[in-house]
Subunit: 257 residues, 4 copies
């Protein structure tokens, strides 16, 4: 069984800010958003957690092992260094989507994302301790992207294929299993999953191939933290690449990191 | 008629680098990618160009008004400050996708994106001068995202809706018109278009609503640079928001920026 | 009695890198250095430690409470994201300068700072636990800088005054007490001190006034971490500003952070 | 004869901001300051200008070739992305210090640096065109720093030596010639000078050796921009390193950049 701690990070009242007093330059907004994400990635990454950029104004993080004090420190530091502030809602559940739902509800309860008076909410429950295998993470990529796409067709058409694969996979794994899947650049998709058997991943790979004709492969890992599970998944994906298999669970080999 | 200068920015041999000598920590990769994008956004943004993160290892920029010397300066500066280097291919065409196709071909001609020996390619043709109205940009967003989605359902389910809308729109506008559309965070999608009439945008909005049941609105602008066209589009989108219309062309009002 | 854990952070073989194959653009070097410092400041800051930019290629940190695993994580993360790597030497002593001397010796023992083969050294001893009052930090600034200097004379002449004050103070406190003092911007100097009585600070203030005719004031704090001691010192300095006194120890008032 | 355009960059009302409502965490302030400097370094660097961190809340830039529109763009972009804003004063004179004095006066005329109502001042005169040789820049470093200091004594004592050399040189060149000298990290000092003969630099080197017993060497360059002059100076300094000379003017060799 998995135990997933999810944090929703929401920029307070961001939409209105971007057009007040008139629209701000798009490249400044892009810079602000991506640097804010990078700072959060460093903060949680050094605590073995993961954050995904999602829509940038709302980011989803898997934060097993990160306590309330650390969440407060992150919120204060962003408030000190950016022209915007963030609210953080955190919750724990077996299925990732249920944890997110509860985390998200804590912010929604406090008011609208565009309520000027609802800023720097910090609400949540945090795991008292972490346990080996609490998290299951799957790391997907597209088989031979460079050979089939990047080096042969134009980048936008490549991107359309990757996007269709992602849109198909994210929806399938969410509806079927309550997993949360995120595009992380290149041809990579990381899924935060409940406890799923190998067959579930083979089914997901088959679903995407049927649906949008893109061939995926996937490595799966377990761990006490997002980094530990994700790192095992990366190693398992390396096995797919080496052996030409499409689903690999991280096996008996010791994690070297 | 439009004249679009497109630059493809490709991190050299990035995939292999991310797993050598063994997989690198995901949050470090996310940080590296998003900061690299932010730096490029600042560089081109101050020259009134736009860049989109696309897949992060491949980024697409609209660079009317940015010459070869500036592209070389960007390449040198990234090489001085990052552990990876970038290749840049640039081309000009009426339709954005044709410009990208040509830009991309210049890199593909030099070798594979994963060829260790193919680094820091700088190949391209650049517009000798810019002309008013060279670019047409459309800025879409989802009608009442906060009320319908963000404040009501969980962030991942909101994101699924936005993603399905984006996947539908990007494909439709690319296939129908050769336009390049990019998700830029929140509920915003920016399309770099050829010369299209207002009706084409109404059709695209209708297509997405039929296809995935998400209601979009869109502001459209023309300009000599991506910033100028995009800024006019943002103002037009403000008109949609104010007036409840679904398609607005930037009109007789003077641009204030 | 104080117990100070000091870490020396040294960019490996940096001098030669800056001129290979020929001199790199100065603004790229400045950007690289200041962002590297900022990243380290974030990393250690969230662990309640302090780092000072010193010469940028060598930075000095006060790291009570930061263990060996965290130092290793910092080193790996920098190596993943920068074109340069860092070596870290750490040691503990009562007097800050003695801790630095020992920390520094650990790197010097492994080879020259410009030895190509000596990279990513990680050597040190770390405090097993922290104790209240382990650190004493003094925060100096110049009395009425804005009124006397910034608003009246040109910035460079202001800076000359601040620099002379800093050069005088750093030398005096190092020679007299083995304290390490760092200019941190504006008119602020932070000194990491051994256990010193209030009179020692009054003497230092008097020394600088005699030596270079700049009037300082100083707040002094104790704490278990650099942040805790430094934060108390900041509060004490606020008392100087409010009351017109020149030396304030953080007193009975509870720390609010 | 030289023609130097200098810009003073001042963070608006920064001191009060750092302690409102109570002191902000020092490492957040350090991060904010150094990233702000890095962003400005990138912005002006890509226009072949130089900026120096000076006191971080006040930065001095040499901006020949950067016009008023670019200064306005920088100001807007910082205002969009930081919790603080900046004021910019620019002026032109033969001697760097006179240009700074005039630039600085334009801000002082508008009000105090700590006046809440005096924000985002943009005042200045800008060179209509640049001319070869407008700028003279000298790049100093310490002879054999690594061998004499870095590898032998502790970093703070090394730093004391570098600081004393800098304090001595900055004052000497300012008083004697109206030059502005900046420590830029490591053992490097960059001086923006009026038109000075080789002998003036030999005198400065001798002065520092007499005054604080640190041996400097210096390369000198001329150029149309800070980058061009500074880059020539770097090449000349490489000649010092290679030939063991203490003053080198950039000679007949063609600039390779």
């Amino acid at each position: 069984m998995t135990t997933t701690q999810v944090t929703l990070i929401q920029i307070d009242n961001y939409g209105p800010w971007t057009v007040t007093p008139e629209p701000r330059r798009e490249m400044d907004l892009q810079t602000l958003q991506s640097r804010l994400f990078a700072d959060i990635a460093q903060f949680v990454g050094h605590r073995d957690a993961y954050v995904f950029f999602t829509r940038f104004d709302n980011m989803i993080a898997v934060t097993n092992g990160v306590d309330g004090a650390a969440h407060a420190a992150l919120q204060e530091s962003i408030g000190n260094r950016y022209p915007v502030s963030i609210s953080l809602g955190t919750a724990v559940a077996e299925r990732p989507v249920d944890a997110l739902e509860a985390a998200n509800g804590r912010l929604q309860f406090e008011g609208s994302a565009q309520d000027e008076g609802r800023t720097e909410v910090l609400a949540g429950e945090y795991l008292a301790e972490t346990t080996p295998g609490d998290l299951q993470i799957a790391h997907f990529d597209v088989v031979d992207t460079t050979g089939k796409y990047t080096d042969r067709i134009n980048e936008f058409d490549t991107f359309i294929n990757i996007e269709q694969a992602y849109a198909s996979l994210m929806r399938n794994l969410r509806e079927t299993h309550g997993a949360l899947s995120f595009f992380v650049g290149g041809d990579n998709i990381i899924s935060v999953c409940p406890d799923l058997p190998e067959r579930a991943f083979a089914d997901a790979v088959a679903h995407v191939e049927d649906d949008v004709d893109v061939e995926l492969q996937v490595g799966i890992g377990r761990g006490e933290s997002a980094h530990e599970a994700g790192f095992a998944a990366k190693h398992a994906l390396e096995d797919c690449r080496r052996d030409g298999t499409s689903v690999e669970l991280f096996g008996p080999r010791a994690v070297s990191d």
